[in-house]
Amino acid sequence: MKVIQIDTNQWTEGLAKLEGSYRMFGPAETEGKYPEFKELEKGDVPNLNVSNTHLSAKSVVYPQSEVMFEYTLDEAKEDHHQLREIEKDYSPRAVFGIRPCDAAANLIIQRNFDSKEYRDPYWVDAFESCVFIGHACENPGATCFCTSVGFGPFNEDGLDLLLVESDNGGFLAKVITDKGAVLAKSAGWETETDAAALEPLKEAAEAKIRSKVNTDQLAKQDAKDLFDAPIWEDIGFACLNCGTCTYSCPTCWCFDIQDEVKDKSGIRMRNWDSCMYPLFTLEGSGHNPRPEKHHRIRQRFMHKLKYYVDKYQAGVQCVGCGRCVRLCPVNIDIRTVCEKMNSYKPA
């Protein structure tokens, strides 16, 4: 596909043009300390000076909390106690500055939310409304290991356009899909340039990733052997079950469903949940199949590195973004755990 040159003026003008036809998303300042992905106010530009956001870009498609249904408990109303679907805005969204790891993560999550048996309408409709304008990582972070899990700093999976910073302050944009081509055209970004310019940049970026993890034996390992391996108490020893890893992870998809009522009006909503929490699996009888923290940390790593591998035969459920490594308060490192699982030999 073609590569387009976008200079700084064209960039600003293009964003202004797109505001008319897309809801604009990208990294932006938040009330907290760090830029995160959010819907941009009119006139705001995405902040592309972010190496990677603390929370992943999954929230654009899959918000942390999302209303599913509404209802009334007022028996004077004809449809009282009946859940109603609510209007959702699935008009086109332009998602700027998503890193290749987060874009690839959406395709992993898609396997869960869009299967041949069930289609999760909230996730799928939101996903299909998006055009993903990726931001290549010319300077990957110290905890990045995307090249070990089948991706890379210029990876195109899940992207419609890939932006690469160019020397003059603008971008080179690789057009990956028709959706991306349409967006580039509506932005007025049409100056074609030499595609060969990208390759050396890509190779240079890949060479900067020092972290290497082996995953080649995971599919061959026996799930029961790994489950019963005497490694989990050690791995989980320092774990606080804080859930930071699951919330920051671009490929974690678990959720809870809750009802909330004010006066006679109610909603049913879903919220991100975490396998790190004991309540995640606590049953009404009081029985909990994962009562101890090492059971829960085993679930997290087994899910990402074994159950998912077995279920889909499409690699690991990890894109190597390194967030959980960087943000874990007790330095639990998925790379180390992965090596232990990959090289495990039952006694």
Partner: protein
């Protein structure tokens, strides 16, 4: 495509208190919309999410048989937020059902075979659905045995039906209680594993056991079935886990790479033996 999280509205048509401790009530629901009733085509062994607006949802086994038309029944133990509230609800109240969900007992495999149902406590609801289903299709099955126990007579579910099945005689009923001081008790006294040892039909390739009950019952019944020579392919279990979505998406009810809500709740013991994860 239909939103798989949207419950179908139902009206409570009847509430029966099943046990003397009043912890178990059977709710009979009728669908508000005829098309929902037609769409709800289940098989014995499946479950559904009962939806109480303002409280939440709870996964419960379907107690009525697909051969019982025009309504669905669920027997609900008073336990948490949703089931506790349900026990305060009245006939005529509106709530929702989402389903049917999960797999079912392997009826195609069981046709032409001997079936022994082994149940304990309030896990008997999908077993009731199964018995009613088999009785409605009696000529499709060979011998049918039912071993069902509870701690005491007043805690047995569906007592009128149990007596009627016992009296009708086209299935072999082995009702039991752990103990009773009722001098008129005319059935068995003893734990389910003990009665299984005494009454279960001999094992062969054409005999299947469906086992559903509390963990202790399952744990102690297992060696009995092993001694009797039941193959683990011929032992069928139905599992429970905490669930939310019921369709294999929300992530909490897995055993290894299988979701109890979608890939189960029914598994053969042989399958379970080979699964990694918290059972």
């Amino acid at each position: 495509m239909q939103n798989p999280y949207l419950p179908m509205p139902v009206r409570i048509d009847e509430i029966v208190t099943e046990t003397e401790d009043k912890m178990l009530k059977t709710f009979k629901f009728v669908f508000l919309n005829k098309e929902d009733e037609e769409r709800f085509q289940h098989k014995a062994g499946q479950f559904a999410e009962l939806s109480v607006p303002g409280k939440g949802e709870v996964p419960i086994g379907i107690a009525s048989s697909p051969t019982e038309k025009g309504y669905v029944k669920f027997t609900v133990n008073k336990t948490g937020l949703v089931t506790g509230y349900m026990h305060t609800m009245k006939v005529g109240d509106i709530m929702g059902i989402r389903g049917p969900l999960g797999n079912w007992y392997p009826w195609e495999t069981l046709e032409g075979k001997n079936v022994v149902i082994i149940g304990g406590g309030f896990a008997f609801s999908t077993l009731r659905a199964s018995i009613v289903y088999m009785l409605a299709n009696r000529n499709k099955f060979k011998d049918i045995h039912v071993i069902y126990g509870s701690r005491m007579p007043s805690l047995l579910l569906y007592r009128d039906e149990l007596a009627a099945w016992e009296a009708a005689g086209d299935i072999a009923m082995h009702i039991t209680v752990d103990g009773t001081d009722d001098p008129d008790w005319k059935y068995n006294v003893g734990f389910v594993p003990t009665i299984t040892e005494q009454k279960a039909p001999p094992a062969d390739a054409d005999t299947y056991a469906i086992v559903c009950g509390p963990p202790a019952m399952i744990r102690f019944t297992q060696p009995v079935l092993d001694n009797l020579g039941y193959s683990h392919d011929n032992i069928i279990n139905s599992l429970e886990k905490r669930m939310k979505c019921g369709i294999g998406i929300c992530g909490r009810c897995n055993i290894g790479d299988q979701y109890v809500c979608k890939d189960g709740p029914v598994f053969t013991l042989n399958t379970l033996n080979h699964m990694a994860g918290e059972k």
